[in-house]
């Protein structure tokens, strides 16, 4: 184990998949369970090489069901853990993503999105899993998902995903798309002491007084891990504050509402987005991930032609920056949403904005992303 290898401070040239791996290790991730899948394999390959250097364990599981379950197990052993995958694997992970939410287990899923449904376009881009990360597992959940748009952000937001998963005790998704995952760019890794690292809250009371699922004011309960003497029972069944299964409507009401509310009520602390030229804008482009880079260029071109257009780039797609959208919609005539799917975030925008603004979807089914010219054309349609 070499402490100097924990954070590779310096300027690097690497792809988004690899940057996610470095972000995870810098965040303190020491356990990775995964299954090879294009276009996320580079994350696993990097982690397999890097984790042993810092005393961590890489294990290749038999499938994504097992991968997701193994990282939950490792998290309960007190180790920060992660997996990486793409659409078909993400579908398999939905089962134990739900278990992670129900048992309030911190961990991170990096999902490098490719064209779907089913096997779809293994090597080509899509943004088709945005809704799946929100609603893919059964039941009501609170969710946090990041949509980075560059290898630098893959580093930054994988690290942040760990922080948020530890803070709010749930699996957090990093939804890179294939282009962001495979794009090579400059990645600046800060000094270890400059990184903000959040670790899960530990119980402050004796085991006899500890209620493992009794939340603090932030709706998050402190977490006692295996072997710490607290003898916690953790179940995917609806449970009370002791962790005991309780099968009735009242317990369900109390538990599930809290699981959703701990994200809803803390949303202002979690939500991140970038905003460009929205002051006085009549039109606003909403774009995320790789597409947001083309959208930025399209906005620049449109503004050269004196079109009053701005842009919002959600960095957390969940929770969605809905208050900001609602506020903007008071003055904005139309929202233009280019995304590499047949409409996912566009519906979210439509839900948030007031009835006097229009939402205009610019879809791509996957395989390639919009050119700036295509987005510009979409903007002009709405002028």
């Amino acid at each position: 184990m070499n402490p100097k290898r924990e954070v590779l401070t310096g300027v690097h040239f690497m792809n988004g998949d690899e940057a996610a791996a470095e972000g995870a290790i810098a965040a303190g991730c020491r356990f990775f369970a995964g299954y090879p899948i294009t276009p996320a394999t580079e994350t696993a390959e990097r982690v397999a090489r890097r984790l042993p250097e810092v005393g961590g364990i890489y294990i290749q599981m038999e499938d994504e069901l097992a991968s997701m379950c193994a990282i939950l197990g490792a998290s309960w052993a007190g180790v920060k853990s992660m997996t990486s995958t793409s659409g078909p694997g993400f579908s398999l992970m939905m089962e134990n993503y739900g278990l992670g939410v129900m048992t309030e287990t911190p961990c991170v899923i990096v999902n490098i999105m490719r064209g779907g449904p089913s096997t779809g376009l293994p090597t080509l881009v899509s943004q088709g899993d945005v809704m799946q990360s929100r609603w893919g597992t059964h039941g009501d959940i609170g969710a946090i998902s990041y949509v980075p748009s560059s290898p630098q952000e893959m580093f930054d937001y994988t690290l942040k995903a760990f922080n948020m998963s530890e803070k709010y005790r749930l699996p957090v998704c990093v939804l890179g798309d294939e282009i962001v995952g495979h794009m090579n760019e400059k990645v600046v890794i800060p000094k270890k002491e400059d990184l903000v690292i959040i670790n899960r809250k530990k119980p402050k009371v004796a085991p006899s007084e500890y209620l493992p699922f009794a939340p603090d004011d932030d709706l998050v309960p402190p977490m006692a891990c295996a072997g710490e003497g607290y003898r916690v029972h953790v179940t995917g069944l609806t449970h009370d504050e002791r962790g005991h299964p309780i099968i009735n409507a009242e317990a369900q009401e109390k538990l599930v509402a809290r699981l959703v509310d701990k994200i809803r009520k803390n949303a202002p602390d979690i939500i991140e987005y970038e905003e460009i030229h929205t002051k006085g804008a009549e039109l606003v482009v909403v774009a995320y991930g790789s597409v947001s880079r083309c959208a930025k260029e399209a906005v620049r071109m449109a503004r050269e032609e004196k079109i009053k257009v701005g842009m919002v780039r959600p960095i957390t797609v969940w929770p969605f920056p809905e208050d900001r959208m609602r506020k903007l919609s008071e003055k904005v005539k139309a929202f233009i949403v280019p995304e590499v799917n047949y409409g996912q975030v566009a519906y979210e925008v439509e839900r948030c904005v007031s009835s006097n603004s229009e939402t205009h979807l610019l879809p791509k089914m996957g395989g390639d992303i919009h050119t700036p010219e295509e987005i510009l054309e979409g903007i002009k349609e709405m002028v």
Partner: protein, 305 residues
């Protein structure tokens, strides 16, 4: 924007819905009266299992085995899947994890690799471990992850009312094999040995002492161990196959069990009304996943002296 109704759900529920907790526990004041109570999670007894089910015996044997093994309870972890046996985790007074259907083994793998000091035991049923979780079982055995797997085999899905499963005897009737089972069942010790388990035994719930001894051996053993516990399920399986009461099933075990240590697992198949070959079928040494990992990594990164 969605606003929440001001209607007070909880108050209305107090009025109309019966307060059926899964079960109200016995008075906590009675806790500690029994010498085994310290192994049982306070407030969780009585359990949900039917009378004459073998799970109580399997659980008691495991408690005795933990006692004999001697490791502090704080070092033990129990991981279960879904089903009747899946409820074992919740009753033991250790760190316990009741996971999704079929997934206790990968969860336990993460737990063990995350903290190698823990003694990790998977307690689950035949459907959980060998139908929906079959793939995880063979791969964990192949890797020789240092976990213990105890499979209580009652030949059907008891929790859901008695459906056909991967170990159901040929021709046996269940709710989803009303004309008899047409599928060949798994022979669990054979699967375990072929997959690489270092310790494999089978006992029935009649063989309480031998079962307890096997559990102690498994706890002491490094590597992937497997114990099959043949258990009666009079409510769901016995009734439909005219196996009689729980007591009659125990009598059947007494009359039809044949102890054959080191038996060829291929010959240990089970049939409805046939003999039950029990015993220790495998006990060998093989480096565990973590030992192999440690060895490989220390070669790649030699410690500077």
């Amino acid at each position: 924007m969605i606003t929440k109704s001001k209607w007070d759900v909880r108050r209305s529920r107090d009025k109309f819905s019966p307060p059926y907790l899964e079960h109200d526990s016995w008075k906590l004041g009675d806790y500690g009266a029994h010498p085994m109570d310290k192994y049982i999670r306070p407030g969780r007894i009585p359990h949900i299992w039917c009378s004459a089910c073998g799970l109580g015996i399997a659980l008691t044997c495991f408690i005795k085995a933990m006692e004999e093994f001697g490791a502090p309870l704080d070092n033990h972890c129990i991981v279960s899947g879904i089903g009747c046996t899946g409820r074992v985790a919740g009753y033991l007074n250790v760190d316990s994890y009741h996971t999704t259907h079929g997934r206790p083994i990968p969860f336990a793998t993460g737990l063990k690799l995350g903290n190698p000091k823990l003694t990790v035991t998977v307690f689950s049923g035949d459907g959980d471990l060998f139908a929906i979780g079959g793939n995880h079982f063979i791969h964990a055995a192949r890797r020789n992850v240092d976990i213990n797997v105890i499979c209580v085999n009652n030949f059907n899905y008891g929790m859901t009312g008695g459906q056909v499963g991967p170990t159901t005897h040929m021709k046996a009737k269940t709710t989803t094999s009303p004309y008899g089972n047409f599928e060949y069942p798994f022979n669990l010790p054979h699967v375990a040995i072929a997959s690489g388990a270092v310790y494999v035994a089978r006992w029935t719930t009649l063989h309480a002492r031998r079962l307890k001894d096997a559990m102690v051996e498994a706890l002491e053993k490094k590597g992937f161990t497997f114990i099959e516990v043949i258990s009666p399920c009079p409510t769901a399986y016995g009734r439909r196959n005219k196996l009689g009461t729980g007591l009659q099933e125990m009598r059947y075990y007494k009359e039809h069990s044949v102890i054959k240590h080191n038996a060829d697992p291929a010959e240990a198949e089970l049939g409805l009304g046939g003999e039950i070959i029990v015993g220790k079928f495998k006990d060998e040494e093989r480096p565990t996943f973590l030992e192999m990992h440690e060895e490989g990594i220390s070669k790649a990164f030699p410690k500077k002296t």
